[in-house]
Every structure is written in C-alpha cells, then in structure tokens.
C-alpha cells in the first residue's frame, strides 16, 4: 500500500537518536492551532505558493482553470479557496514558486530513497523516524515500510499524537524501536478547544505505552496562551510523574517558524502574532518541573 508524504528530511537531529531521516506523512486527526507543520493537516496533495520565488512570468495563469491564480498589481496572486488542485501550474512554473505538497510513494520507493544515508545512520546510531501529520493514520503503509527498514537493521522511530486506538499501535510497535509523543494538555475541554479532539484516548495510550516495554519519550510544547501557566503545567507534571518507564520528558518552546508555511499554503494562522517563549519563562517552567519532580520524589519516599 502506498503512502502520502510531504517530504523526507535528511540529517534530522531532533527526531530521535543519531543522524536520522524523518519522513513526514500527510494527514492528521488533530488540528493543533499552533502546529508547525500545517502542510500535513490535509491528507490530500495541495499547492504551496512561494511568492518570493515568483518572477511574474505569468505562465501559470495560462493553465489555471479556476482563477485561483490571478494577476494583481502586476504580480501573481494565489487564492487557495478557488484552487481545484489540478496542479497544471506546477509543471509550468520553472522558478518553482508553485510546488505540490504531497506525493505518493511506495514502501520500496521510500526505502530506496533513504538508503543512501544508511551508513550515516549506522555510524551515528541513528535511523528513520515517521512523523507528520499523524503517521498512524497510514497504518498499513507505515507498518510495511517499518518492516523493510527493520529487516535492513535500521533503527526505527515514530512521532505520534497517540490519538488512535491502542490496537493500531499493537500492530506497529513490534517494528518500532523508539516512540516520541506529545502531552499537550491534561484538561480535556481545553485540549479539545485547541486541537479539535478529546485527549482521553491520548492519556490512556500514554499509560499503555508506559506498560508496553517500548522505549519512549514525552514532550510538552509550551504554547503561549495555551499551557504556559502553572495551572496547566502542574497537572501535566503530575501525570508524567506517575509514569514508570518513561525514558525522558522535556519541555519544548513554541516557535513561530511556521508562519511562512501558513502564508504559503493560504491557511489562516491563529498564532501569527505570537513570538517565541522567552528563555527566562522557559527556565521558570523547567525549574517548576524540577521542583515538582523533587517534591514528588520526597512525597513518595514519605509514603
């Protein structure tokens, strides 16, 4: 079964141990409003419009059947709502200002593409990581591809939102060496507001993962106005403290680097005005986490 991916990021150093190739799959069942990979929201291919690359040759206007591309003040403009995703424009855009995001790929093709970096993986104890989007939504493709890499002795990892039935993980985890997941919020109502989905399944899956014997880490993205408060973080820390087998837990600061992606895709960006979490604030939260761990440890010792 083929998969839909946005791209393969080589030389990834943040998605698991060593040097890795991260494969970004298209489609997600959460719609986190701060997501830095908005190109993975939709499971279907879509257009990305890189205005700084456009030389206004206007060739694309000749092939666009829906007036999604038009001339405004001498420059080409893109209106996503009118786009029928025919992709005629991509082929004639020689400057590559219009690009198709999303391509179909078979497990074998993906394996062949990544294979050139196997030596780097082996030397650095790295490997491949499925990310997204939500890789588990392409279960069969992911399962088959992971199997190919595992057979070649390559370390495998997935970055998942844990928002699919645990039975799906039971099919995939035998082919996975390492799992990375987010714990965004404990409060279900707030979680629903910001991501469009309940977190009940997610929390239960974290517990299942903890019991699974699989090596995993959890991260909490600190997002301004969402969970950057003691009120939201303490329940998260409390939840994490109950986990027995977690390898690592870390706080990740929100960054606004995805702003251009939203613009290029023509998707509204609710976090457009937000800046990075200041280092001082992140330090406060790190200290809170350390304090919480210490208090919790002492509490357990007293018991």
């Amino acid at each position: 079964m083929n998969g839909q991916i946005t791209h393969i990021q080589r030389m990834s150093t943040h998605d698991g141990p060593g040097i890795r190739s991260t494969i970004f799959l298209k489609g997600c069942n959460l719609q986190c409003k701060w997501c830095h990979n908005p190109e993975t929201f939709s499971s279907k291919p879509e257009l990305e419009w890189l205005s700084d690359k456009c030389i206004s040759c206007q060739t694309c206007l000749l092939v666009c059947p829906s007036e999604a591309l038009s001339l405004q003040n001498g420059k080409v403009a893109f209106e996503k709502s009118l786009c029928t995703a025919c992709f005629n424009c991509v082929d004639v855009c020689f400057p590559e200002a219009i690009q198709k995001i999303g391509r179909e790929i078979s497990p074998e093709e993906l394996f062949a593409e990544v294979e050139q970096d196997f030596s780097f993986f082996r030397e650095s104890n790295g490997g491949i990581t499925f990310s997204g989007g939500e890789p588990m939504l392409q279960l069969e493709f992911v399962k088959e591809t992971l199997r190919l890499f595992r057979q070649a002795g390559i370390h495998t990892a997935i970055e998942t939102n844990l928002n699919v039935p645990w039975s799906w993980y039971e099919q995939v985890l035998p082919e996975v060496d390492f799992v990375m997941a987010d714990l965004k919020l404990v409060d279900d109502h707030i979680h629903h507001n910001w991501t469009g989905a309940s977190n009940r399944q997610i929390l239960q899956n974290i517990i299942n993962l903890d019991h699974s014997g699989k090596t995993y880490i959890l991260r909490t993205p600190i997002v301004p106005g969402v969970n950057d408060s003691q009120e939201q973080l303490e329940p998260i820390f409390e939840f994490v403290s109950r986990l027995k087998n977690i390898q690592k837990y870390e706080l990740l600061p929100f960054h606004p680097l995805a702003a251009s992606k939203y613009k290029n895709l023509g998707i509204p960006n609710p976090f457009e005005a937000n800046l990075c979490i200041p280092a001082s604030k992140l330090k406060e939260f790190d200290e809170l986490l350390i304090k919480y761990k210490k208090d919790n440890h002492e509490r357990k010792n007293k018991l």
């Binding site: 150093t13 050139q116 030596s119 780097f120």
Partner: protein, 720 residues
C-alpha cells in the same frame, strides 16, 4: 588533557596573538588584499633588499641566479626576535615573487600556449615547491650534517655541472647559518636590555638553543622546533614552500627525551608548540598510521592540539582518520573545531588515500607514508617531485569549447550524446596539453628555478648531484587537477533532463538564452528551469551520473599520460584552489543556469545550494562518489551549519567524517560560520580582524581577502 596543565604562559601567548593581529593589519595596509594563505609572514622593512637580475629581461634564473639572490638576501635579511616567543625568526620575503618573470624565456613553450589558452589551463610551468621535504632527515643531520653530505657526494659526482650544483647548496647552507648567527647576536643584545627576569631567561635559553643548532643537529624539543623553523623560513623565503610533515612523530622523540631528563613539563611543551604553530600555518599532519598500519598518536599529538587551541589563529593542521585511530584524539579534534569555529583542524581519509595510491603500484607501507602536508595534497616526504596543486584544467571551459563546436556545426546532431563525444575529445587534448606542460617543466626547470632548499631534505638530489625536478627525486608522481566538475555535470544533466527527457525547452531556445546571458525576454524563466534540474550532489540524480562519468573519464585520461620508462606517473585529482573566480571569468553562461563570468564550482563540490536539506550528508555522499581514486585528493569543502556545530553533536559530526572517508573520501575542509557574522564581516572586514575562513585547502584571515573572494565565500556559506 588541558584540565591537568597549569599553563603559566598564557600572557606570552596573548601578547604574540595581539602582535600577529597588528602584523596582519599592517600587511593589508602595506601590501593590500590577497586571496591566499596567511603564511604567518610579516612585512619586511621598506626597500631593505632587492633582487639581483642575471638576465636581460630583468629577472633571475638558474642555479647561479637563485643562489646569488638567496645568499645575498640571507646576508642582509632583517632579524626578528620577540622576548615572548620561544623561537627566533619570521618569514618576510617572497623571493620567488620578486621577479619580473617567472619562466626563463630561453626555454619557451609557445607551442603549448594556444591550447593552454583555449582550455584555460593553469600549466604550472615555472611554479615551484609543492612537494614535501623530509624533516626527519633535517633534525637528524643538522646543518653540519648536510654540509658533510654535500662534501661527501661532491667527491663522487664531480662533473663541472655537479660541482656547481654542490657548491650552490653549500653556499645556501652557509648563508642560512650566517642568518641564524645574526639572530643570536640580536638575542644577546635583547638579553642585555630586557628588564623582565622571566623574559630575560627565555631569551638566554633562546640564544643557547640557537647556538646549539647552528651546526649540530637538535637534541631537545625546543631545539628541534627552532631547527624546523629555520629550515622552513629559509624555504618559504626561497620559494614559498609550505609543506609540513608528520609533526607528532617528528617531535615525539625530543619531547620524550626532555621528559625523561626532567627538562620539560606539559605546560612548557604546549608553550613551545604554540610558538611553533604561530610562526607559520604550515600543513602538519597529526595522528594516522605508521608504515605498518599502527596508530602513531602519542601524548604530544594531544599537546599539539592543545597548543593550537591556545593560539587559535590561522592553522593548517590535518588529523588523519583511519580504522585503528585513537578515537579520543579524533573526538578532541572535533571538539576544538566546534569550540573555536576557526576552520581547524582538517581531516584526511586514510583508507581511500592508501588504497588509491597503491593502485599506482606502490606497497601499503609506502602509501601510508604519503601524508597530508599541503593545501589539497599528499606527499611522500623527501621522496617525490609532484607539482601538486599547480596544474589545473578548467573543465567548464572545455565544456564550453565542446558546446560551441556542436552548435557551430550545422549538420551536427544536437544531443547530449554528441556533446559528450566532443567534450571527451577536447578534454583529452586539454589533459595532454597539461601533461606536456609538466614535461616541459621537468626538462627545463633546473635552468629556471632549481629547488635549492628543498633539495637539501630530499632523498636523491644530493646523492645524485641532480635537481629534484631533473631526475634527482626518487618518484615523479605528477598531479593534474580537474576544476569545475559541478558546472559541467549540472550542465549535461540540465540539457538531458529539460530538452531530451521532458522536452520543456529546446536546444535553440537554450542556446539563444546562453548567448544573451539569460537577459532576453523569458531568459530568467529558462535559466531557472535549467538551474532547478537534477543537480549533482542530491543523490541518485542525472547530475550525479554525469559527475561520476566526467570524473572517471578525466581520471583515465590523466593516468594515460603516465610513462613508466621515464618514471613519470600522472595522478588525477579534483581541485580548483582559489582559482574559482579566475576560471569563471573565462567561461560564458552555462546550461546549468550559471550566468556568464560567475565563479565555477569549488573543487569536487556541487554547485552551492544543491540540496534543500541534509546538505552535509548529500555533500559527503556526492564527493565520495566522484573521487578519482589514485591517492590524490578531491576535497570535501564543508560549510557546516553552526546550529549543528555544538558540543552535543561532536559524535554526529564525527560520524559524517568517518562515513565520508569510509565511502572513499580523501580530505575534508570545514568552515563553521554564522551567516549573520559572515555578512557583517563582509560589510566591514576591519571589524573582524580575527575571523579565519578555510578558503579552499588553506585558511586565511577573512579581512585579507579581496572583495570578490569574500563574496564567493559568503555565497558559499549562505547557500550551504
């Protein structure tokens, strides 16, 4: 190791570094900008010495011309002593550049000039050095030992020409000794006026060291370093020779003897080594296997790295990477690379260099002795004459000739297949022209510029009474480098993909826009179509296939020039040195979307910006793929992303280095440059006097580069 050393010499080192900074500023002020190595050279006093002509054209040539000039310069050479330094002497004069003409017109090569011009060949005729002396011989014999050797062989080889040869070398040594004596007098004078007791004591020791080695070979680490410095400064003065050697094994016996006799501690050794390294950024190799494959790392290998860290100026230390290497030394070297971000050390890949050189018929022991001691080049110390890094074929120009010929022939089929045939034909002529130039040099260089100083530490010239260029050397492993691989590969790929496979454009349309430098209507669109085609370097692309084909073909053509009967072995490499701008100025717009007169690609590197992400891995794969594979290098010029270059990523960086070498890579030059800093430095270089970049094989102060070259470095880093 540094944590254990109580280093009490930092004040002296800081003073020397501060002085070097001022010397660099003075060089820029007096001599202007220069796209070259820093060399550690200082500006000589104005009008202090001028060369003596022995030819109507105003230049000087031949044994007499060079010997007379060298001896006269040594006699009048200014002295250089700094009480903070462990060693006396600094390089000041570029004797080989003080000539109005570098090739003796009595030995013309006019028959080669048309093709040299047509294919933009740097012939190397009249160029010098670029092979390495055997310092081991020097520190074993000392100056008197070398004089004795001359005396011995003068009685055996006694034709008038040979007698003149020996007399010239004898005069050269005597003049070097006289130069050292002048320094001893200067040191003694400074002892009398120095008020700081510690510095006065340092000067006393410096004087004693120089008295000890004036005739006899060195016996201590300090004496060995000072001896090497004198020889090297003499050789630099003579003809810019910058070759180094296996520095740790060279100095190890002296260090260990000093330790055993309680003459030294680690701090003092680091002080000596720091002063040694700041004297001149010579190409020294560190670590690596001995001739039996056993790793040579010792305590002094670490101390050399530590000394380099103390001075952290422009340095050309190369760490040899091999299977049995000391992993701690490897890691330490990357830590310094990342910590200082000053483009040192470099890394040399033993596996491919040794196996490649063995393909030329050498055994493993000899191949392992061939070490990284030059800008891009390897050398068997004291055993070979090579013309390394001197002879270059601009393959982008060869491509242009072939392309224009195809278009000019009205009945010729326009196809990449036909273009390739023409390219092959012209490349063959170009390589042959380059080889003929080398043969011309071998025949006449002794009448132009004998290697008076390098002969002294070579095995053969004194024994045979022959200049190293004239049959004196043991081996003639002659280098021809190809340049512009990325431009040519991407041009073939763009034509094949866009015209032949996709039919998105036509030969006529591409040609029209090439002729107009993509400046006519629709020109930019077609340029971008071509530029965005399948690049060399991205992995399994059309560009990669073409690059491999070009490299293989070039290498075979170079190898075919070899002549075992004449002991002439030609070895291919891919390297452009600092000629990327000059070569580019001779080539019009190319089908890879490059505009006319823009620089060609650097060495074996793909066109900058070839990879969207994962550029480090792509680069490591791509350059390993196109290695000529016969023991000369095709370096990987690596602009390492500063966000990756952190202490957390030492092992990842190490992995990339190891994998590149495992896949066939030969040499890695690394820059770690913050993009905003390099832009700011480009804007106002004077505010960044300490900023060092590895331009190609050599490092240079960014502020010393010409604006054109600074732009090239900036573009390379911004597009990495």
């Amino acid at each position: 190791m540094s944590e254990r050393i109580n280093f009490k010499y930092q004040g002296r080192i800081d003073t020397l570094k501060g002085k070097k900074k001022l010397q660099t500023l003075e060089k820029i002020k007096v001599e202007g900008l220069l796209d070259e190595d820093d060399y550690g050279r200082v500006v000589p006093p104005k009008d202090h010495w001028n060369s003596i002509s022995n030819h109507p054209d105003g230049s000087f040539y031949g044994l007499d011309g060079w010997t007379n000039n060298f001896c006269d310069l040594m006699e009048h050479h200014p002295v250089y002593v700094d009480p903070n330094d462990a060693f006396a002497g600094r390089w000041m004069y570029f004797m080989s550049r003080m000539r109005s003409n570098k090739w003796n017109p009595d030995y013309p090569y006019d028959h080669l000039k048309p093709n040299q011009s047509k294919y933009d060949i740097i012939s190397g005729i009249g160029d010098d050095a670029h092979f390495s002396p055997d310092y081991q011989m020097g520190v074993q014999l000392g100056w008197q030992g070398l004089l004795d050797k001359i005396e011995h062989f003068r009685t055996i080889n006694n034709s008038p020409e040979q007698i003149a040869f020996y007399n010239a070398h004898e005069r050269a040594i005597l003049s070097i000794q006289s130069w050292i004596k002048n320094h001893i007098v200067a040191i003694e004078h400074l002892i009398d006026i120095e008020t700081n007791p510690e510095l006065q004591q340092n000067l006393r020791e410096m004087a004693e060291v120089n008295r000890n080695i004036l005739s006899a070979p060195p016996k201590t680490l300090r004496e060995a370093c000072q001896w090497i410095i004198w020889y090297h400064l003499a050789s630099r003065t003579y003809n810019r020779d910058g070759a180094g050697g296996q520095i740790d094994t060279l100095l190890q016996p002296f260090f260990e003897k000093d330790l055993a006799e309680n003459r030294i501690d680690a701090a003092k050794a680091v002080y000596y080594l720091a002063c040694f390294l700041i004297n001149d950024p010579i190409y020294w190799q560190l670590g690596g296997p001995d001739e039996n494959g056993k790793d040579q790392t010792s305590e002094i290998s670490y101390l050399i790295l530590e000394a380099a860290d103390k001075i952290n100026t422009s340095l050309n230390i190369t760490v040899r990477v091999h299977d049995g290497m000391d992993q701690q030394l490897f890691r330490k070297s990357i830590e310094y690379l990342v910590k200082n971000k000053n483009a040192w050390p470099r890394f040399s890949g033993d596996k491919a260099l040794v196996s490649g050189f063995m393909k030329n018929g050498f055994d493993a022991a000899t191949a392992r002795k061939r070490i990284a001691v030059g800008c891009n080049w390897m050398s068997l110390p004291g055993m070979e004459y090579t013309m390394n890094d001197l002879v270059k074929v601009n393959m982008a120009k060869v491509f242009e000739v072939a392309y224009n010929e195809m278009l000019a022939e009205k009945n010729s089929e326009k196809s990449t297949k036909n273009l390739w045939t023409l390219f092959e034909n012209h490349l063959k002529i170009a390589v042959d022209t380059a080889a003929q130039g080398i043969r011309h040099q071998l025949k006449y260089q002794k009448y132009n510029e004998p290697e008076l100083i390098l002969n002294l530490l070579s095995h053969g010239p004194l024994e045979k009474g022959l200049d190293v260029s004239d049959g004196g050397a043991e081996f003639y492993n002659l280098a021809i480098d190809g340049a512009g691989l990325g431009i040519v590969a991407d041009s073939f790929a763009a034509l094949e993909q866009r015209i032949e496979l996709e039919k998105k454009t036509s030969w006529d349309e591409v040609n029209f826009h090439l002729q107009s430098n993509f400046e006519e209507v629709n020109g930019e669109r077609i340029r971008l179509l071509l530029r965005n085609s399948e690049h060399f370097g991205h992995g399994n692309t059309l560009g990669d296939s073409w690059a491999l084909k070009i490299s293989t073909t070039f290498s075979e053509m170079v190898l075919e020039e070899s002549n075992p009967q004449l002991r002439q072995l030609f070895i291919p490499g891919l390297f452009s040195w600092a000629n990327t701008i000059g070569f580019g100025l001779n080539v019009g717009a190319t089908p890879n979307g490059r505009k006319a007169l823009q620089p060609i690609t650097h060495g074996a590197n793909p066109v900058p910006g070839f990879a969207v992400d994962g550029a480090s891995l792509s680069l490591a794969n791509a350059i390993a793929l196109v290695q000529p594979g016969y023991g000369n290098t095709a370096p990987m010029q690596w602009e390492l992303d500063p966000t990756l270059a952190t202490g957390d990523h030492i092992d990842l960086i190490g992995s990339i280095i190891k994998v590149h070498f495992e896949k066939g890579g030969t040499l890695i030059n690394v820059n770690i440059m913050d993009k905003s800093e390099i832009l700011a430095a480009h804007n106002d270089p004077s505010k960044y006097p300490d900023l060092v970049v590895r331009v190609t094989g050599f490092t240079a102060y960014f502020s010393m580069l010409t604006p054109e070259f600074r732009q090239l470095v900036v573009d390379r880093i911004l597009e990495s």
